[in-house]
Subunit: 425 residues, 2 copies
């Protein structure tokens, strides 16, 4: 079989598995999740061994120690992954939830109920724990999953998927089909291409990773896509801000974990507060090793302990994911909103202000997945939002926006019950 | 300017208009809708005159009288269109609705609120009333709209859009931007192509029309699409059905209005009830002029007054939109479900049964936008479902499924309020 036929074959099996999964009650799915967690722990040694092959290959390819660390699995890490699976089992099942229901004037009873999406494809880079997290969340929400991880983690992912599938096969006589969890065959980009063209077999693709991966999926896929993750997040310090709070939020948003999508990448400061705020802010950023890419007005405040370089047009649109920060002075709240609208990625923006009317206007005008008032951008996260888990953060407007939990992995259907109702009579 | 530049230019203006529309309160939008309704009535003569040019051209091109009738506008029809606009004004505004809200353990207050999608493109065939209906629904939900109607209605649509834009320009000093409603320039297919590639400017495309239009948009668009409308709807008559009810529902679903997407296209009959049901059903269908495309088992029941021809494999997947009906005998409810899964378009399926367990199993296993129990498939409709209006019927699983009302023309954003909340401290 060629790569295309192989990909279509796993997609067809996933489609069949999805039909079997959809009506399963929560109890069966939770039993399966616990069986997966048990198997991961019991077979840790095999998984670590498979992972060692990936790690060796990555070392030989000159991969950075940071990336090697992300790739590496240990018995402890596998135990943590298994614990996360048990946590997913403890979450409510979104399937079957009635989200709307009433009786129509003609007596028809209408209910809108959550159903699984069907077959979900996840294309991801980096850490092999995503393989298990994604499988657990899709299984809990009644979906079959097609996993397409990084080729650098292929042996690890293969081992993890094999362990999960075996666990499913052992559950209550195979009631949960093993084909609910499948790895997309093939290490090359061709398999991604065929997955993106499997419209009719795959219901949705969720790319998780860098901007180039996400853009290529969005551009080329005929399967519907949920775009995730790019975050050029802004912190706007209003004329009326509490200065201590503003410094703390800025530093937290930029430095608490710079490599993630909800970290701040651009600072906008109201002109009226620049004199009071910027010397302190630039010093605090400098102390944490942040390089500020400032416009002319910002650079005028560069003093001792601060690292400030000249911002180019490109800086305003950049997601650094590092200890860099673009910064500009703006004439008004509306100018800040206009800047965000022009350069932002509509992920998360924060305003720091003591003014109720400024907070109200900012939250009304800024059209991003999350708008924070007097809080760090770093809170945009499924766990923080109380969803219990997260499959990714959508930066698109259709279907789901912001952190996606289990309900965002479902669709709905209408069930309408009558007693012989006819139209127009 | 070439066509591409013209399309991008209207899209850019729509994007700007969308930003201005999003924060407008309901009162302003409703005033604008009433101004549009007033203007349509006041300027009926101009609209009828523009429409006459389309009608003349259609006649010269040999268009059928049925299509000419659909295309034609009269003063009375324009009054009805204006009344529909006033009805949209009377509906609740979905924008600003809080769909989720709670306080997190750390004291952050989280609210998920409805916001407009932004710029909505509608690609449609047929009747010019869609031009006004779509504009009213998108305006009410705070969206800017790009309208791309049939080239055969170009002059009518141009006149309608000009009247609506002038009305907006006159409302409360132009607070509602006229660019909220725009016609996509150009009569040829090129303009559709450029609209489908305007990712980043257009937030969603909704194609309304025949299967070939919808398929081409779904295949070629890089802008997210909401697929609508194809309905290969099934009526399944269970072993335990009430025979009178089954005949009535079948006849209603097939013949009450055969040309629409929620009309029945396939009948499936449980083998155990075939002897009792089919002679009556085939006679009733025959009396209404329905041609039944039956499998071998069905054809055995063809008697006086019935028109039954041999079904080919193709019939099972056909949306006739005419007085034709595919029909098969199945061995079980599960066989009916399998048939629907294989050949259906996941629009609407109905079961006729007196058995609670059969109804429960059918509604659990059939994965369609709407599943009817003892009711005609013809009820899948935004008005019937109590939504007050409908922009189309989604047959996809992402974002919206089934009839789409005003809330389905919105996205959401999270507004999170703290008092200096920092992550991880």
């Amino acid at each position: 079989m060629g790569t295309q036929e192989q990909v279509l074959e796993v997609a067809r099996r996933a489609r069949q598995a999805a039909a079997e999964l959809a009506p399963l009650p929560r109890g069966v799915k939770d039993t399966a999740l616990h069986a997966i967690a048990d198997a991961l722990v019991a077979r840790s040694a095999e998984i670590v061994e498979a992972n060692a092959a990936d790690v060796t290959a990555a070392r030989e390819a000159g991969t950075s120690e940071y990336m090697i660390d992300r790739l590496s699995l240990t018995t402890d890490r596998i135990a943590a992954i298994a614990a996360a699976v048990r946590h997913v089992a403890s979450l409510p099942d979104p399937v079957g939830e009635s989200v709307r229901g009433y009786t129509l004037p003609n007596g028809l009873e209408l209910r809108q109920v959550r159903v699984p999406l069907g077959v979900v494809g996840i294309i991801y880079e980096g850490r092999p724990n995503v393989t298990v997290d994604a499988a657990a969340l899709t299984l809990k929400s009644g979906n079959a999953v097609l996993l397409r991880g990084s080729s650098s983690a292929y042996d690890s992912n293969s081992a993890l998927v094999e362990v999960m599938r075996s666990a499913l096969a052992g559950v209550t006589g195979g009631e949960v089909p093993a084909d609910a969890i499948q790895l997309v065959p093939g290490r090359d980009r061709d398999s991604v291409k065929h997955l993106m063209r499997a419209r009719g077999l795959v219901d949705v693709l969720i790319p998780r990773g860098g901007a180039s991966l996400i853009n290529s999926v969005v551009e080329e896929s005929t399967v519907p896509v949920i775009e995730t993750g790019t975050g050029n997040c802004h912190v706007y310090v209003d004329a009326a801000a509490d200065l201590d709070m503003a410094v703390d939020i800025l530093v937290n948003a930029k430095t608490q974990r710079p490599s993630v999508c909800n970290a701040a990448e651009t600072l906008l400061v109201h002109r009226d507060i620049a004199d009071a705020f910027l010397p302190r802010a630039l010093r605090a950023l400098g102390e944490r090793g942040v390089t500020v890419h400032g416009d002319t007005a910002i650079r005028a405040y560069a003093g001792e302990g601060a690292t400030v370089v000249e911002a180019t047009e490109e800086d305003w649109g950049t997601e650094y994911l590092s200890l860099d920060l673009a910064a500009a002075v703006v004439d008004s709240l509306d100018a800040a909103v206009a800047h965000i609208r022009r350069y932002g990625s509509a992920h998360t923006e924060a305003i720091v202000t003591t003014s109720q009317s400024a907070a109200r206007r900012f939250t009304a005008l800024v059209d991003s997945a999350a708008v924070m008032v007097n809080a760090s951008t770093r809170f945009t996260d499924g766990e923080e939002f109380g969803f219990g888990a997260e499959i990714g953060i959508s930066t698109q407007k259709l279907h789901a926006r912001g952190p996606m939990g289990l309900p965002e992995l479902t669709s709905t259907k209408y069930v309408v019950t009558g007693d012989g109702h006819l139209k127009g009579v």
